[in-house]
Symmetry: C2
Subunit: 148 residues, 2 copies
């Protein structure tokens, strides 16, 4: 199994603000993709994320407000199905630290390399949403290569 | 062992330009850190990369111009020593695709999460250097968290 890991720090003293950006439709649409359906604030919720070329359905599998969120990918790109996305939040000084993990890729395929870089830029979009009030969700996301 | 993987696409038709940015002092100083010493165009070369808080010495262990570069980390942060950094370049349509791997982390420590995100942004700096003529190397690099 192969994993994507990232860490960002968001200048904020409100864990709740960051947690909301991961568990509500409006929060998620503000940094990942504007085409988001569903809320993510109850275990068992299904959130539908859509992009130009496809998308993902996530089932919320674990929640501990305001510090822990886990999603399971239940539909979408074949390589993503069965993988898990885990978020851990903690305060360190002036920053909310976000530890991000996209776990359990079966193989470290080229698409995984792409997704790793895209996640980094979407995390920077989340940082910008909280710090500046504006993220760069799809379709305004930073393009990194010939796939997106 | 844990690995960091990334993929970017650089709008260019010159593999040589990208290869030079990975194997010459001026190229490396243009996207990773301005405080770079040494060339990286011979197997066995040592390149010294310095940042405010420390740095890394890399030994060039494999080269196949203009498509393949591998470095071994021989000095620096303890977590990095013994890890390897591998670059594969290929042309796909209008893009040079860069497949990046930072291999053989002993443990997926929090610092690895940080480095994964920083690598993504330094790769975007490499993309910008080739496409726009200007990267964002240290000390002008994009800050991602309370560590850098």
């Amino acid at each position: 199994m192969a994993n994507i890991l990232h860490r960002i720090g968001i200048k904020s003293s409100s864990l709740d603000d960051v947690y909301r950006a991961l568990t509500t439709r409006d929060g998620l649409a503000g940094w990942w993709t504007e085409d988001t359906e569903g809320e993510g604030n109850q275990v068992g919720d299904i959130i539908k994320f859509r992009f130009g070329a496809g998308g993902f359905d996530m089932k919320v599998s674990e929640l501990k407000s305001p510090a822990h969120v886990t999603w399971e990918v239940v539909a979408g790109h074949e390589e993503w199905i069965g993988t898990r996305i885990n978020w851990e939040l903690k305060q360190e000084g002036d920053y909310i630290i976000v530890l991000f993990k996209h776990l359990d890729w079966r193989e470290p395929v080229e698409f995984m390399h792409h997704c790793s870089t895209k996640w980094a830029l979407f995390l920077m979009s989340l940082k910008s949403l909280i710090e500046q009030g504006k993220g760069a969700p799809n379709p305004y996301d930073v393009k990194i290569d010939n796939w997106n």
